[in-house]
Symmetry: C2
Subunit: 308 residues, 2 copies
């Protein structure tokens, strides 16, 4: 798959909007990833003389019905978001119970999911306690699943970008129920409707056990630079260290020249091929450039140990 | 001090913008407070037929020079914010080191402050460890203080709303150094430049030991509804349970009729006056309306214990 070079201004705007959209929805890891990609691009000469880019606007829906719902629900949404930000997840979910926009419905159910995860963690911590033998589960999953299925039944085929977040969450709860095939289908729908949610791609990648799985879904992925990044990442995760993969990576690095994420992919390709000197040199330069970066340092540590 | 009733549309817009401004700056507790005040107002009939309110825009500076700086630093700012959101505070601070807008400078130093607080907490946790006897301190305070003083020297009298956040942080680090008088002056400057950051008011309140302190600063506070809320809150905190205070509260409740915060102030006034039946009835209704609300439940628990 050749990397079609997108217009840098469009990509810049798309990534910038992605940070806002992910952050608004408290998908902090996805926001971080998009922000890293954004700042790894070369600086742009502004296209016109307005000091503020259009994407500085709080991103809203392009669907008029949804945009009107979101505007009406804005104060409640901000309240819910603020509770989420201070880790009051049940409360964050509860205030959105009667909201109808896709955006509000997402945060309503996502906060419920996180509340369930937190309770599960707390229960799991009781080592040698009464619950130690029972497999502790997120007890919100079934309720979220039913809720989402009701929403999708109501919407039918009338789904758009705003629903991509709901499909992402649907995939997550399906995975919790070990329903991998339907989860994968849901993540594929999600990234087709909105390709800039990196968390959806990561979850999709987690459902791929081998190269055959990846090849089976290639035709279903959107025609977007994010697909190229995902395919490169999946090849690396599946230990494909051939020359075409390195070439694919080089293509991507012309778009994101300072990307530490892409540099890490290169180092991991060398690592999988047991070319430790090359891998070590790259990790070394990543750490020098950003001493605070912790991502994948476990591999770096392994390499240094092996080379001793 | 009579409560001058502000135009509800203006107040609604101001509070909505405050949530965004606080949240953007990771001042989550202040964002939560503003969101609660916002949603405790009666619903408004929209003033015109545009579906999206102006404040739905990502709030930007009204100072042109600052706005242009902010626009240029937006990608870096979003990156820093995304690191903050995933609790990588040193990294969040580091990426903004060379930024020049007041907004970026604030998050740069605030993230440094939080990183210092986190390290201090971790050191304090070493009970009976080597550091147990030493009073553990936030070791970033001196550096933040010097940095802020250099910024204020550079700016001279040319300060505006964007600097209110820096003055808020300046007050916090001054308090850490037990410099209460200068801290109080800094908080007063901050709330005059931007009155909707509730955290600045709370810190200001923490410097008031008695009614005399409150009366001494009254003339220095801005002519704004937030001043009325602060004065009411301070009276309650200082155990002033007279009829005029109750009347002041009643005035505020006509503006924020469903405010749980104001209801709690009423309950606390009764509590301080040892009128436990009235206090208990109010707490009871607050818990019924929002079972997830935890704020001030310690007082409710005390009341129930006393009344047994």
């Amino acid at each position: 798959m050749a990397t079609e070079v997108p217009d840098p201004h469009q990509l810049h705007a798309a990534l910038q909007t992605a940070v806002l959209k992910c952050s608004e929805r408290c998908l902090y890891q996805a926001a971080k990833w998009a922000a890293e990609a954004l700042t790894s691009m070369p600086s742009l000469v502004p296209q016109n003389d307005t000091p503020l880019p259009q994407s500085y606007l709080h991103p809203t829906s392009s669907d008029e019905k949804e945009a009107i719902l979101q505007a009406g629900e804005l104060p409640t949404y901000l309240l819910s978001k603020s509770y989420f930000d201070v880790h009051e997840y049940d409360r964050s979910s509860a205030v959105l119970a009667n909201c109808k926009s896709s955006k509000s419905r997402f945060l309503h159910l996502y906060a419920q999911y996180i509340a369930g995860e937190k309770r599960r963690d707390e229960e799991s911590e009781m080592i040698l306690g009464p619950l130690d033998t029972a497999a502790t589960q997120n007890r919100e999953v079934q309720s979220i699943l039913s809720h989402l299925e009701a929403v999708f039944t109501e919407k039918g085929d009338d789904i758009n970008e705003d629903d991509s977040w709901l499909l992402y969450l649907y995939g997550i709860v399906l995975l919790k129920q070990k329903n991998e095939d339907e989860a994968r289908a849901s993540f594929i729908k999600s990234v087709n409707l909105y390709p800039y949610n990196w968390s959806a791609w990561l979850e999709l990648g987690s459902t791929l056990g081998n190269l055959g799985d990846l090849n089976n879904i290639l035709q279903s992925l959107p025609n977007n630079i994010m697909t190229n990044i995902f395919v490169l990442y999946s090849n690396q995760e599946l230990y494909q260290t051939s020359d075409p993969v390195h070439a694919q990576l080089a293509d991507l690095q012309t778009i994101f020249p300072t990307s530490a994420f892409l540099k890490t992919q290169r180092a991991l390709l060398y690592y999988h091929a047991r070319e430790f000197d090359e891998a070590e040199a790259i990790f070394d330069s990543i750490v020098k450039e950003d001493p605070h970066r912790l991502d994948c340092l476990d591999h770096y540590s392994n390499i240094l140990y092996v080379m001793e």
